[in-house]
C-alpha cells in the first residue's frame, strides 16, 4: 500500500477502483452528465465513464460550465466516487465542492505517475490522504 499526502479540498472518505487520465478534462461539452462518460473527441478516456470510480486526472479545462456538468452528475448518480488531481483552478475547486465527493490535491508525489487505472484507491478528504493498492498484474 502506497500513501500520498496532500490537501483535502472536500471532506469525506471514499474508496474504489481508479480511472486515470494524463489529460485534463472538459466539463460542459467534454462529459455526458447523464452517464459520467467522457465524450471529448481525441480524449484518451473517450467512451469511458467515471461513475463509481475514483477519478485521477491533471485537472480541469474548457468551459465555465465545468462545475455545472459535474454538479449534474451528482443528481444523475453518475459522479465519480472521489477526485484526485494536480492543478488547482477555479473550475475544479467549485466543481469538486458542488459534486460533494472527497477531493484531494497538492500531493507529495505525482498521483499520475503512481496510480494506474484499476488500482484500488482510498481517498480521505479530511486527512488529505490517498491510499493506493496496486492491482495484481
Amino acid at each position: 500500500v502506497i500513501v500520498l499526502h496532500g490537501r483535502g479540498i472536500v471532506g469525506g472518505r471514499a474508496e474504489g477502483e481508479a480511472l486515470v487520465t494524463h489529460e485534463t478534462i472538459s466539463g460542459w461539452g467534454g462529459i455526458d452528465p447523464m452517464t459520467g462518460t467522457v465524450i471529448e473527441i481525441r480524449h484518451e478516456l473517450r467512451g469511458q465513464s467515471f461513475k463509481d470510480r475514483v477519478l485521477v486526472f491533471p485537472g480541469a479545462k474548457g468551459s465555465s460550465g465545468w462545475s455545472n456538468a459535474f454538479h449534474m452528475t451528482r443528481l444523475t448518480k453518475s459522479a465519480p466516487l472521489a477526485m484526485v488531481f494536480n492543478q488547482m483552478t477555479t473550475k475544479i475547486a467549485l466543481g469538486a465542492v458542488v459534486t460533494r465527493v472527497p477531493a484531494v490535491t497538492e500531493l507529495d508525489q505525482d498521483p499520475l505517475s503512481i496510480i494506474e487505472s484499476g488500482d484500488w484507491v482510498r481517498v480521505d478528504g479530511d486527512a488529505g490522504t490517498v491510499e493506493i493498492t496496486k492491482k495484481r498484474s
Binding site: 490537501r7 479540498i9 472536500v10 485534463t24 461539452g29 467534454g30 465524450i39 471529448e40 473527441i41 485537472g59 480541469a60 479545462k61 474548457g62 468551459s63 465555465s64 460550465g65 465545468w66 462545475s67 455545472n68 454538479h71 443528481l75 492543478q87 488547482m88 483552478t89 477555479t90 473550475k91 475547486a93 467549485l94 466543481g95 469538486a96 465542492v97 458542488v98 460533494r100 477531493a103
Partner: protein, 428 residues
C-alpha cells in the same frame, strides 16, 4: 480565512438566509482554492436560476418544487432548503439560454420548454438581473473597465475580460456567480491578484496571422500547447480587432484552459515583453510557424470527410455587428442550398435588424437566432450530417455533442458551402 465585517454578518445570517447560504458556499469554494479573503464585485455574469426541463423535473420530483427559487436555492446555492431569493444589485446579468424565444420550433424545442424559458426570464426580471443572454456580454452592454473586479462565467468572455479589457475575473461557475449576485463577494484568488497575471509561456509567432480563421487557429494551437497557463505572443502579429480577439480567446480557452493572454505592444498589461512576463523568464518558448499552422488546420478538419454540407453555423462566440455586415454582403441577392443559422445576442440582433443585415441574410434563406447556439442548445437542423463552421471553438465542441462531421474554415468558405452545398475550403 480573513473575513470582513460585512462577510461575517452575512455568514451569521443577519442578511437573511439566502445570503447566509450563498456566503457559506463561497467560503467552501474559497477554502478549496486556498484563498485567504474575498474581493468585492458588482459586475457578475452567470446563469442564475436557469433550468433545463431536466433540472425543473428533477427538483419537482425530489423537492416538490421546480420553481426559479427552488432551482436557485437547491442547485445554484447548493442549499438544503428552498428560500426566498432577494433581489440582486449591481451589474448582474444572465448569459445564456437554451433557445430562441421566436425560433424555438426550428431549434427542435417544445412549446413547454419555450414557456419555461419565458417564466425563467420573468423571474430574472423580478430579481433585478439583466437578461443579456449572450456569451459576448462585452459586445452587448457589459463592458468593464481596466482593473475592475468581475465574476464572470463563459470561458470566451473571461479570457476577453482579462486579456483585452484588462479587467479581472477568474472563470467562475454557475454556483459561484449566483452566490456572488446575492453577496457581492468572490474569492480573492488567481486573476484578481497582480502576481497571477504575468505570462508564463512565450509564443513566437512566425506564420502570418491575418484572417479571423488565422486567429482561431492560433488560439486553438496555443490552448493545446499551454493548457491553463498564460501565453505572451510576440512576433508576426499586428493589432487585432475585437472580432479577432473574440475568436482567438474562445479557441484558446477550448483546446486548453487559457484565461488570459498578452500580446506585446497590444494588450493593456503588455507594454513590452518584460512587463508581460513580470520580469521572469518564460517556462517555455513555443514556435508557431507554417508547419504548426498547417497541422492545426488539419487537426480542426480531422472530423470532416463528406464534402456535402447540410448546415452552416455562424456566430460562435455570438456574432458581432461586423460579422453581420460581412455575411450580409457575401449573401446579398443569392440563395443558399444548405441550412444556415447565425447566432448572436439580442442587443446585436437589434442593430443588425435596423441596419438591414438580418433581412438580407433571411432573404438568402438563413435564420438569425439569439440567446443560444447549436452546442448550447444541442440543436442542428433535422437530418444534419455535415456542418461547416468558422469557429475553432464550435468545431471543438459540436461534433462530439451532436454527432456530426464538421469542416472548419473562413467565413467565406462557410458561405460558399451554403451557396453550393459543398465544402471547398482549403488552407491558403
Amino acid at each position: 480565512m480573513i473575513l470582513a465585517d460585512d462577510e461575517k454578518a452575512m455568514l451569521d445570517g443577519s442578511g437573511g438566509i439566502a445570503k447566509q447560504r450563498a456566503m457559506e458556499l463561497l467560503v467552501r469554494y474559497a477554502q478549496a482554492l486556498g484563498a485567504e479573503r474575498f474581493v468585492d464585485t458588482t459586475n457578475i455574469a452567470g446563469v442564475p436560476g436557469s433550468s433545463t426541463l431536466f433540472l425543473q423535473d428533477y427538483f419537482e420530483e425530489h423537492a416538490g418544487d421546480g420553481s426559479f427559487e427552488a432551482v436557485f436555492s437547491l442547485y445554484d446555492l447548493d442549499a438544503a432548503e428552498v428560500m426566498p431569493v432577494p433581489k440582486s444589485g449591481g451589474n448582474c446579468c444572465h448569459l445564456q439560454g437554451g433557445l430562441d424565444l421566436e425560433h424555438w420550433a426550428e431549434l427542435g424545442m417544445s412549446r413547454e420548454a419555450m414557456e419555461h424559458q419565458r417564466a425563467d426570464e420573468a423571474a430574472l426580471e423580478r430579481h433585478g438581473i439583466r437578461i443579456m443572454k449572450t456569451c459576448t456580454p462585452y459586445l452587448a452592454g457589459n463592458l468593464p473597465v481596466r482593473g475592475e473586479h468581475c465574476a464572470w462565467m463563459e470561458s470566451s468572455a473571461v479570457v476577453y475580460c482579462n486579456s483585452v479589457i484588462g479587467a479581472r475575473t477568474n472563470t467562475e461557475g454557475r454556483e459561484s456567480t449566483s452566490a456572488a449576485m446575492l453577496t457581492g463577494k468572490i474569492p480573492d484568488w488567481g486573476f484578481h491578484r497582480d502576481q497571477y497575471r504575468h505570462a508564463t509561456h512565450l509564443i513566437q509567432v512566425e506564420a502570418p496571422v491575418e484572417t479571423v480563421m488565422d486567429w482561431g487557429m492560433l488560439g486553438y494551437f496555443i490552448g493545446a500547447a499551454v493548457e491553463e497557463n498564460i501565453p505572451v505572443l510576440s512576433g508576426a502579429i499586428r493589432q487585432a480587432d475585437p472580432l479577432r480577439h473574440k475568436h482567438f480567446g474562445a479557441a484558446a480557452s477550448s483546446s486548453g484552459g487559457v484565461e488570459m493572454y498578452h500580446i506585446v505592444g497590444v494588450t493593456p498589461e503588455a507594454p513590452d515583453l518584460e512587463a508581460a512576463l513580470g520580469s521572469r523568464k518564460p517556462l517555455a518558448t513555443i514556435h508557431y510557424g507554417a508547419e504548426e499552422r498547417r497541422r492545426i488546420y488539419e487537426t480542426l478538419n480531422a472530423n470532416g470527410h463528406d464534402p456535402k454540407v447540410d448546415y452552416v453555423m455562424l456566430g460562435c462566440p455570438h456574432a458581432s455587428i461586423d460579422q453581420f455586415r460581412d455575411v450580409a454582403r457575401l449573401l446579398d441577392g443569392k440563395k443558399i442550398r444548405t441550412q444556415l443559422w447565425m447566432f448572436t445576442s439580442r442587443a446585436v440582433k437589434t442593430v443588425a435588424d435596423i441596419s438591414g443585415f438580418t433581412k438580407r441574410i433571411e432573404d438568402a434563406g438563413g435564420v438569425v437566432m439569439t440567446d443560444t447556439c447549436s452546442a448550447i442548445a444541442r440543436a442542428v437542423p433535422p437530418g444534419t450530417k455535415v456542418v461547416a463552421l468558422d469557429s475553432a471553438k464550435q468545431t471543438h465542441y459540436l461534433p462530439a455533442m451532436v454527432g456530426v462531421e464538421a469542416w472548419f474554415g473562413t467565413t467565406e468558405d462557410c458561405i460558399n458551402a451554403a451557396l453550393t452545398g459543398r465544402w471547398n475550403g482549403e488552407l491558403k
